[in-house]
Structures are given as structure tokens and as C-alpha cells.
């Protein structure tokens, strides 16, 4: 993976001492109005540009992800939301043609630094995908997968407790309590997606990235997932890509609007929807483009 921040970009990368303070820094507030969410940034990106086989997909994105908040990424199809969210846990590493420049930090640590361990990063920054993708294993094994590979639990009992807790937090436990050995793929779409969320939170990540988690689900299943996200935000930092403006408004504290590979506007969700600064944002939130 090519990671070559230019000298100027390197100079702009906030060091770990200042990053946590950005939110309280009045200068930063001017520079980054999103800091008004009042929470320190859990993750940041600076000058992030991504291209696939030399075809640019993202240009120069500066964005802060506030801790214990829900950040929504919105924008028309193909604007780079998926590309952006996949940069946050280096999921783009597995695409051969993908090149990433600029910097992304997590707790002030540059996640694209050469000595950064992707495996450790991904245990801290978990991900839920657009299409539910349970493993071809039982519900129990699906949820226990992460704890097992990371050796998180000492005994079988501990493991079971963790699995049940994760299923409970994902709001799935009551529905599957007596068929934990059934294959994960036997669940309905919405249940599968909640299983994937349970699987992700079983690893106890700090950040959960969700790429259009409801796009394959019906409205009732969507409502369940939304409730779930609202509850999860107590303990996790959540980034969610969504196509639905209503969902972004209902769920998120902060919204970032992408258009044609650029971050056009970011800020408190209310501000972005009520008083967008940019014409393109206004058009989009009013349903004129997209």
C-alpha cells in the first residue's frame, strides 16, 4: 500500500498531544467548524486522497470523527463515501489498485504509518457492511469468531457470557436464544445484519464503521437497527454511511456531505440540514441532486 504523505501534509498532521485538544482550541474551531460538536476527535483525516488504478476517487479530505458520537457520511452515489469509510480501518489495503495519500489518525496515531499493525487497528475500528455477511457458521460461532481469534476470553463460560452480551446489545438475543447453533445464514436479512453488529461489538472495538447498514433491509428491520445505533453510541464512536437523509438526521450528531470525491461540507447535523453553507449541500439535502 503506497502511503506517501508529502512534506506539507506531514507538517499539517496534528501530533498526538494537540489532537485531543482540537475541540477546545478556538483557532481550531475557526478552522474546523465541526469541532462545535464539543467532543474531542477519535479519528481524523488530513489531506486524504484516494485513487483506484490512478483514477482519483477522493480528494484532499479533512474530517474529524468525534468520540462517542454518530457521524453520518452522506452524498450521491459514487461520491466516495464507501472509499472514505474503508480508509478508516485500512480495508482498502486489500484492493490491489487502491492508492491512499494523506494521513488518518486514530487516537493521534497515524494508522498508515509503516509500523502500524493493521490487525490491531481493525480490532479497534470494527466494520459493518452494506450487505449482511454472516460467516457460514452457527449464530454462536459467528459472534464468538472475533473473541476467539483475539484470545479475549479465558474460559468457555467467559466466552459464552461475552457472546450472549454482544447478542443482547445487538438486540438479537431474544430472537435467537434457543437456536444459537442454527447457521447464521438461516436468519432473516435484518437479523443477519444485527448478527453482524453483534459480531463486530463482541471484539469490543472503539469505533464502529457502518457502510449503509440498512440499505438491504425493510423499514421495520431498519428501525430496529436505528434504535440499536442510538443505544450503541453511549459506548462507541460510530461512523455511518447512509443514503437516507432522514436517517442521517434522526441518528447522527455530525454530518459530512461528499460530492464528486470531495468533502463539501461538515458540521452539526442540524446545521448541515437546516442551514447548509454550500449550494451543493443545499441542493442535495433538499433532494435536488442525488
Amino acid at each position: 500500500m503506497a502511503h506517501a504523505p508529502t512534506l506539507t501534509q506531514v507538517a499539517e498532521i496534528p501530533n498526538s498531544a494537540t489532537i485531543g485538544l482540537l475541540g477546545d482550541n478556538p483557532l481550531a474551531l475557526l478552522k474546523h467548524p465541526e469541532a462545535r460538536t464539543g467532543k474531542p476527535a477519535k479519528m481524523t483525516s488530513r489531506g486524504l486522497s484516494v485513487s483506484y488504478a490512478n483514477k482519483p476517487a477522493l480528494h484532499d479530505v479533512d474530517l474529524d470523527i468525534p468520540v462517542n458520537r454518530v457521524t453520518a457520511l452522506i452524498g450521491p452515489s459514487g461520491c466516495g463515501k464507501t472509499t472514505y469509510i474503508r480508509c478508516l480501518n485500512r480495508m482498502n489495503d486489500i484492493i490491489d489498485t487502491c492508492r491512499v495519500e494523506g494521513s488518518v489518525t486514530h487516537d493521534g496515531e497515524d494508522i498508515y504509518a509503516p509500523d502500524q499493525d493493521v490487525v490491531r487497528l481493525r480490532t479497534r475500528v470494527g466494520m459493518v457492511f452494506q450487505k449482511p455477511n454472516p460467516f457460514p457458521k452457527s449464530i454462536y460461532d459467528n459472534t464468538a469468531y472475533g473473541p476467539r481469534i483475539h484470545g479475549m476470553t479465558g474460559s468457555r463460560d467467559e466466552e459464552r457470557a461475552l457472546v450472549l452480551d454482544s447478542l443482547r446489545r445487538a438486540g438479537l438475543l431474544d430472537e435467537v436464544r434457543d437456536r444459537l447453533d442454527a447457521p447464521g445464514t438461516s436468519l432473516s436479512g435484518g437479523q443477519q445484519q444485527r448478527l453482524c453488529i453483534a459480531r463486530a461489538i463482541a471484539v469490543r472495538p472503539e469505533v464502529i464503521l457502518m457502510d449503509e447498514p440498512c440499505s438491504a433491509l425493510d423499514p421495520i428491520a431498519t428501525a430496529r437497527i436505528e434504535e440499536l445505533i442510538a443505544a450503541l453510541k453511549q459506548d462507541y464512536t460510530i461512523v455511518i454511511v447512509t443514503h437516507s437523509m432522514q436517517q442521517a438526521r434522526r441518528l447522527s450528531d455530525k454530518t459530512a456531505f461528499f460530492h464528486l470525491g470531495r468533502l463539501v461540507e461538515q458540521g452539526n447535523t442540524e446545521d448541515v440540514f437546516e442551514a447548509p453553507q454550500d449550494g451543493r449541500t443545499r441542493d442535495y439535502v433538499m433532494g435536488r441532486i442525488g
Binding site: 480501518n89 480495508m91 486489500i94 490487525v119 480490532t123 454472516p134 460467516f135 469468531y145 481469534i149
Partner: protein, 295 residues
């Protein structure tokens, strides 16, 4: 149009022809030697039975030693091509750069295109003497026609079989599962072993069955590198004989179609046909259901 229909029945006629010729001749054989003697007999020495009336109770047509020999050599072959082919497929599908893959895959496939008589020659003049010398140097007696030599070479020959069938199965596993596992912080090998191989298992198993069927029916390597005398053993360093070797030995040279010796080759052929067909049907079924699963 009639032409086309006639042409398409040729394949059926071929199968019917195979089945008929095998069954008719085998039937004659089983009139001389009881089926149970053939299937469960522990002793095989057809050379002594010049005429049918000499056989009978001596049980010289017991196929068990041949089956054991075939199984031994096949097991050796599969224990080479199974892991090597699977690991090679994993490397090519999951680790290798597209360039490396496009270079190495055809090279592996060359192995499958080489005529088997070439492997037989290689096994007989290179591998067998090598094993013999190697065995001598550590004080082991290795037969010059050991099951090991034939099995190893057959294993090498079937590497591309296993690797390309496994490769198909592995690449058919949807990327979403790969991403799910990697997204939970799995290393690549954990993703492969715990998720991908697990999902691809039916496809891989089907491929292995097809390879087994191929190995069991392989003739030239064993004719040239395995032994002629029936030997009921599981020691890979000894010489064993196989079903195909015996068919060749019984039918090359002059034959009389009323001797049990000649006819026994057809009974062996019927046995071989039944076993490989069963493996094959099973394999195709497994692979088919697997393919449907990920469409």
C-alpha cells in the same frame, strides 16, 4: 437434424458399450470364479491359472491385494497432491500478485498436460533409484518398484488438478466474507483457514474426490513404476500391484477369450469403472450444490 440427434447419442452408446462389454465379459468370468472369491479373496495369482478348471477353490483371483495396493498408492499420491495443491491454490488465490498468478498458474498446468507415460519413466529411472539410495543410506530396504515412488510421482502429477479445482472453489467464496473476517481483525491466514476454506470446503472436497478418481484409474505410472506381484501390505517401501497394472499385464500379449485369466481383467475393469464412476458422480453433485450456494 437427424444427423445431429444421431451424433448426440454416440456418447450414450459409448457408455452403453463400456458397461455392456465389461458386464458381459465379467459375467463369463464370474461363472468360473464366484463373485465372493473375487471381491473378498486375499490371494491373487492369475498366472498359475492357465485353464478355468484349475482355479476354483485355490482362490487365485482374490482382488483384495490389488485393491489394497491401489489404495496405498492413491493414498500416497493424495497425501502429496492434496496439501501441496491446496496450499498452492491458496497462495495463488489469496496472496500472489495478479502478475505472479498469471505466470505460475499456466506453469502448474503444464504438469497436468504431460503424458503420463513420461511420469512413469521419471518414476522408474529417477525417483525409484533415488529412494533406494536414500533408503540404503539410512539402512532401510526400499524395493526398486516401491509404492512410494509411484505414489509420489502420481502426487506431483495431480497437483494442478487439486490446485485448479481448489482455486475455483476459493475464488468462488464471495469477497464479503473475506472482508467480514478481515474487518474483525483477522490476519489473512486466519481469514483463509477459519472462513474461506470452511466456506469452500464442499468445492475442495469435490475436487479431491475427482482427483482420487483420477489417481485410482491412472495406469502408466503404476505399470512402469509399481510392481507386478500382488502383495498385501501397507508398507510404502515395498512393491505392490494395482488394479490397472493387472489389467494391462493380463491383456497385453496373446489372449484367449475363454480363459479366466483374460476375463478377470474385465472383472477388474468393471470394478474400476464402478468405483471411479461413484466417486465422480458424488464429486459432481457436491461441486454443483456448492456452486449453487454462491450464485
Amino acid at each position: 437434424m437427424a444427423c445431429l440427434i444421431a451424433a448426440s447419442t454416440i456418447s450414450i452408446l459409448t457408455t452403453v458399450g463400456i458397461v455392456l462389454s465389461l458386464i458381459v465379459e465379467s459375467f463369463q468370468f464370474f461363472r468360473m470364479v464366484p463373485v465372493s472369491d473375487f471381491l473378498f479373496g486375499l490371494h491373487w495369482s492369475p498366472q498359475t491359472a492357465i485353464r478355468a478348471d484349475q482355479v476354483g477353490a485355490s482362490g487365485a483371483f482374490g482382488a483384495i491385494p490389488l485393491l489394497a495396493g491401489t489404495l496405498l498408492i492413491s493414498a500416497i499420491a493424495l497425501s502429496v497432491s492434496g496439501p501441496v495443491g491446496l496450499l498452492a491454490a491458496i497462495y495463488l488465490a489469496e496472496y500472489a500478485s495478479p502478475r505472479f498468478r498469471s505466470l505460475v498458474k499456466p506453469m502448474l498446468e503444464i504438469l497436468a498436460g504431460i503424458p503420463t507415460v513420461v511420469y512413469g519413466f521419471f518414476a522408474a529411472i529417477v525417483i525409484a533409484p533415488l529412494l533406494r539410495q536414500g533408503g540404503e543410506s539410512i539402512g532401510l530396504e526400499v524395493s526398486s518398484e516401491s509404492a512410494l515412488a509411484a505414489g509420489l510421482v502420481m502426487g506431483a502429477m495431480t497437483i494442478p488438478f487439486v490446485s485448479s479445482l481448489s482455486d475455483d472453489a476459493i475464488t468462488a467464496v464471495p469477497d464479503s466474507l473475506r472482508e467480514a473476517a478481515l474487518g474483525l481483525g483477522s490476519t489473512r491466514s486466519e481469514t483463509i483457514v477459519r472462513v474461506i476454506l470452511r466456506a469452500a470446503l464442499p468445492g475442495i472436497a469435490g475436487g479431491l474426490l475427482l482427483t482420487a478418481s483420477r489417481v485410482i484409474g491412472e495406469t502408466m505410472i503404476v505399470v512402469m513404476a509399481a510392481g507386478l506381484t500382488a502383495n498385501l501390505t501397507i508398507n510404502p517401501l515395498e512393491a505392490v500391484t494395482t488394479v490397472t497394472v493387472q489389467i494391462v499385464t493380463l491383456l497385453t500379449g496373446d489372449q484367449e477369450f475363454d480363459s479366466a485369466k483374460t476375463l478377470s481383467a474385465f472383472a477388474l475393469g468393471l470394478l474400476l469403472f464402478t468405483v471411479t464412476l461413484t466417486l465422480n458422480v458424488a464429486a459432481l453433485k457436491i461441486v454443483k450444490t456448492y456452486r449453487e450456494q454462491y450464485q
